[in-house]
């Protein structure tokens, strides 16, 4: 139950106030939350193949349930080092572990939103035969929840950078100026820190979005076309963006 309380608190922004300076939730709790929410949405995704009795429908269901959390965790593995490097370059106070927790927090928010779309996906899965429609619906839900996860990350990063510039330095840090002068001009410092956070965020968002989309492409199929034999992974060809355009085109035919 603690996991669900953590998810709720994260969603409500309890851990992202400027005074927090990072997310004070254990990384393993966040990982568990991501896994639970991902498996839940994966179940709704896999329902399409499971109900239509394609070859190895049950296998596709299990694969979808495993792939959704995997998609996010693998994207995290690939993109985490770059966020850490950039935020360190921008002189954030975030340590390696705090950056990880921040990213896991953003991902938890992303997954919570995605999971909340689960019943809608399930509803359309029950009533839709069109495979391209279900694929596009899922892409849309991933995109919307991804955008909200990113806005959570932006809020958190701005909070962290602002906290850095207005809070007194920690005891172990060598002060570059007398303590009394550090917060001399907080609004200006805030604006500067906010600017740095924005730069870090912009750069990293591009990396995260491109890697995430391509990761989804590599791990496909998520929904599983019932007219094709079950494959854990499809052959490597094309890319995410071309595939979405093709799905849109086939929807109109």
């Amino acid at each position: 139950m603690r996991v669900f309380r953590t998810i709720d608190q994260l969603l409500r922004g309890r851990h992202t106030g400027p005074q927090e300076g990072g997310i004070e939730v254990r990384a393993d709790t966040l990982l568990l939350a991501i896994a639970i929410l991902g498996v839940a949405y994966g179940a709704f995704m896999g329902l399409y193949a499971a109900l239509r009795g394609g070859s190895n429908a049950a296998l596709q269901m299990v694969a979808s349930m495993a792939k959704v959390p995997l998609l996010f965790l693998l994207t995290l593995v690939v993109t985490f080092p770059s966020l850490y490097v950039f935020s360190a370059l921008a002189r954030s106070r975030l340590t390696f572990e705090a950056t990880l927790r921040l990213l896991l927090g953003a991902m938890t928010v992303n997954m919570a939103l995605l999971a909340s779309f689960g019943p809608v996906t399930g509803f359309f899965t029950l009533s839709t035969e069109s495979y391209p429609f279900v694929v596009i619906l899922n892409v849309a839900f991933f995109a919307i929840s991804g955008l909200i996860g990113l806005s959570f990350l932006r809020t958190s990063l701005t909070g962290v950078f602002e906290a850095d510039s207005v809070l007194p330095r920690a005891a172990w840090q060598v002060p570059t100026a007398p303590q009394t002068e550090a917060p001399r001009n907080p609004p200006e410092a805030k604006a500067r820190a906010g600017g740095a956070a924005k730069d870090v965020f912009r750069l990293w968002t591009v990396i995260y979005a491109v890697v995430g989309a391509q990761m989804g492409w590599i791990l496909r199929p998520f929904v599983g076309d019932p007219h094709r034999p079950f494959q854990l992974f499809r052959e490597r060809q094309g890319n995410f963006f071309i595939a979405v355009l093709e799905a849109l085109e086939s929807l109109f035919r």
Binding site: L11, R12, P119, V120, F123, S127, E129, L251, F252
Partner: protein, 219 residues
């Protein structure tokens, strides 16, 4: 308190429906929603004067609203929490339920108009169109109550505008598909009476996309 006085309070947003700090008036809202939906459904389904179709349509209207609401509820909660509006969630729920109650009351109030037009027309397409119009008017009336409920929320935190827009978008998206699945609501007298149409189990958006493609390419 008489039922009529409750309905009037709901429409005017006064009494226990006007005091956001009071407890949520669950029972009258559910009762009004069910009664209004059942009544309008029964009138809507009486086009072909087949009692069975009237009964089916009566059941379908509350079912349509219930299915759409339950499907979208987890997202409503999550979006509000993510927007930092979590503490206001009971007030948001209250505004939404009151809006749905209003839609049901307005539908019931417009039912005589539907019945009146049924007398004068023999065209099934026109009967469907009238119902579409009545639903549109009722939905707009629901927006009046929703706006009333949201006014103080938006004043306190403008992000409620986003929450409201997100809810309406998803609710409409799901509601259209739910209505498509539950059809026929009016019931073509030329066809046999059924709860579901055998060919209805499809996707409204795919149908529209296919139709558009045919029109655009003249196939």
């Amino acid at each position: 308190m008489t039922a009529l006085a409750e309905i009037e309070d709901l429409l005017r947003g006064q009494g226990r429906f006007g005091d956001p700090s009071g407890p949520m008036p669950w029972r009258p809202l559910v009762a009004v929603g069910l009664a209004g939906g059942l009544f309008y459904g029964a009138v809507m389904g009486s086009y072909g004067l087949q009692p069975r179709q009237a009964l089916y349509s009566a059941l379908k209207v509350p079912l349509l609203v219930g299915v759409s609401t339950v499907t979208c509820l987890p997202n409503l909660y999550t979006v509000n929490a993510a927007l930092g509006l979590g503490p206001d969630f009971p007030l948001v729920m209250r505004a939404i339920l009151m809006a749905q109650g209003t839609v049901a009351v307005v539908l019931a109030g417009l039912a005589p108009i539907t019945a009146f037009f049924y007398f004068g027309i023999a065209d099934y397409g026109a009967a469907v169109a009238i119902n579409g119009l009545i639903f549109l008017v009722s939905a707009l009336a629901g927006q009046v109550t929703l706006s009333r409920g949201y006014r103080s929320l938006v004043a306190a935190n403008p992000r409620h505008r986003i929450g409201r827009a997100a809810w309406l978008t998803l609710y409409l998206f799901v509601g259209i598909q739910a209505a498509w699945l539950l059809r026929p609501f009016v019931g073509d007298p030329a066809l046999s009476t059924r709860f579901f149409r055998s060919e209805a189990w499809g996707n409204a958006y795919v149908e529209v996309a296919t139709l558009l493609w045919r029109v655009l390419t003249s196939r």
